[in-house]
């Protein structure tokens, strides 16, 4: 026994680990991976009589790193997820062009492609925060944001192929879902950095994310990133679609509404510890969260543990990619005293994430979309974590 114990310092004994029994084989190799049965993170959605429309929220509290698994990417659908056979799907570019074009997915995939790591955020993310009672956890209050690697071809490449006429100034994008959701995209954006994506996180885009083809407009509100894309029509005017007039516009206190509010402002939130979680004991923890901006790189994330009196720079995960989720971290010791924690992001344009109070003072409470205020969590003495209402 003495020899075995001595050897155990160098060669771990099987008995030192919680294996069922020595020699029990694991499960066989498989064709498509599943996560551990011990992992339970799932999207959350409100109960609904019309489950084909609505939003499902990414479990940010369980996130690590900067990529959202495609299976946990937030969803916003308006008439369900269509089942599309890619061999039957075509993208048609028409309207004010010299050479209208009908392309199969196979043809699109033969063109020179690019890959970009990007954040995607619903224009309505954090809509809960305009109200008196704010979201109780990070999933339900900030979870309409996800990060992915998208692969596709630059839209500008195909616009050169079709020959856009000088009078054209907008692109009307339409999806092949049941309601054929449409948005008007200004031509300069389409010529600049829009992608026709067929890949997400190393595989084909999932059906819920637009399979087989999705328009990706980097940094712009999720709704403009039209899924199941089948039509791009070049026009000389915006089409004033329902989702750019009745919805995705921000009503101000003076009764006027902002429209064509495309870019997502810089934003951040602490994902651990966050509302609904419990710190099991005192001691060291890593305080962490995510920051992003539709306008470029995250330059700085500051963290407060005293309700905003003092702020400290968090460590930013490199590489800090433009318009991408950026993970921030700060070592922290929970000593059993109540702490009110929050994060504040600054992007490369110098824009600083505002407080919720500043946003409400500027825009009132009825603008619904584009909330990017600072989110405070209260860590109680017993280790439970809750949201903070002003």
């Amino acid at each position: 026994m003495g020899a075995a114990a001595g050897a155990g310092l160098l060669v771990p004994s099987r008995d030192a680990f919680a294996l069922d029994t020595p020699g029990k084989l694991g499960t066989p190799l498989g064709p498509y991976g599943e996560r551990s049965p011990f992992e339970k993170a799932v999207r959350w959605r409100r109960e609904s009589q019309t489950p084909e429309t609505g939003s499902s929220f990414t479990p940010l509290q369980d996130s690590v790193g900067t990529v959202t698994p495609s299976s946990l990417h937030y969803e916003r659908h308006h008439s369900g997820i269509p089942t599309i056979d890619p061999s039957q799907h075509r993208l048609i570019i028409h309207g004010m062009v010299d050479r209208p074009l009908s392309l199969s997915i196979e043809e699109i995939r033969r063109l020179p492609s690019v890959t970009r790591t990007l954040v995607l955020e619903c224009g309505g993310n954090s809509g809960s925060e305009w109200a008196d009672k704010t979201g109780v956890d990070v999933q339900r209050s900030y979870g309409l944001v996800s990060g992915s690697e998208w692969t596709g071809i630059p839209l500008s490449l195909l616009l050169a192929e079709v020959g856009v006429r000088p009078a054209a100034s907008w692109v009307i994008a339409e999806g092949a879902d049941a309601c054929r959701m449409e948005r008007s995209i200004p031509l300069p954006k389409a010529m600049n950095d829009s992608l026709l994506a067929f890949g997400q996180n190393g595989e084909a885009i999932r059906p819920a994310q637009g399979y087989p083809l999705r328009l990706i407009n980097p940094g712009w509100e999720g709704n403009t990133n039209v899924k199941w894309l089948h039509s791009l029509k070049l026009t000389n005017q915006a089409y004033m679609a329902r989702d750019e007039t009745a919805k995705y516009t921000e009503l101000m206190p003076d009764g006027k509404a902002w429209m064509f509010t495309y870019e997502m402002d810089a934003k951040s939130v602490i994902t651990f510890p966050s509302g609904g979680q419990t710190l099991p004991r005192r001691g060291p923890y890593e305080l962490t969260g995510l920051a992003w901006s539709g306008r470029g790189r995250i330059e700085r994330v500051e963290v407060t543990i005293d309700g905003g009196r003092t702020w400290e720079n968090a460590h930013l995960q490199e590489p800090r990619l433009p318009i991408a989720l950026t993970r921030f971290r700060l070592p922290w010791r929970f000593d059993g005293r109540e702490a009110t924690i929050a994060s504040r992001a600054t992007d490369e344009t110098g824009y600083v994430q505002p407080t919720r109070e500043a946003l409400i003072a500027a825009r009132g409470r009825n603008s619904n979309y584009h909330f990017n205020g600072i989110k405070f969590w209260n860590v109680r003495a017993d280790g439970t974590v809750t949201n903070v209402d002003a």
Binding site: Q49, T50, H78, S79, R90, I92, H94, P100, L101, S102, L103, S104, E107, I108, R110, L111, L157, A160, E161, V162, G163, V164, P166, I172, E174, A178, C179, E182, H230, S231, T235, Q237, Y239, M240, A241, R242, T245, A246, T249, L251, P253, G255, K256, A257, W258, M259, F260, T261, E263, D265, Y351, V352, P354, T355, A358, L359, A361, A362, R365, N366
Partner: protein, 179 residues
Amino acid sequence: MWTRSVIVLWLAGAIPLAAQSPTYSVGRPPTPEEIRALGIAIAPDGEGLPEGSGSVAAGREVFAAQCSRCHGPNGEGGVGATLVGGQGTLRSARPLKTVGSYWPYATTLWDYINRAMPFDQPGLLKAPEVYAAVAYILNLNGIIREDQVIDARSLRKIVMPNRDGFIPDPRPKTPSRQR
């Protein structure tokens, strides 16, 4: 002079087009059927509106058959959105955003009903039924008279109550430095 400036404009347009000849030559021209099938998008100037017309009276029947189960018998809302009322509330603490109080263009109503309604059978309605439903909803909101008939010509002339209620995105001038 007039001829000369036309030629200059023509040249200015022609040069970039010549430089834009296709590089990859993938795909094919769309078939007329493909273009027709995609031709449902309606511009705010009415471009794209099909032939046909609908009266308020016909719209009442369409609405009762296809819309009221979600939007209520008189557009008051239910599972579906409230379609009526709210004019004068946009500055209040509880604004009611409806077709009548908020939507800037009547063409949007035609386009959206045609492409997305009814919720469980989008695309079900024929053009005259869409015109009729639009007429009924506009009448419920006091925007057109009871005896009015809506077609492509009349729809594009309708000025919605909140037509001038929208301004372009004013950011990033909005507050960002307040802490």
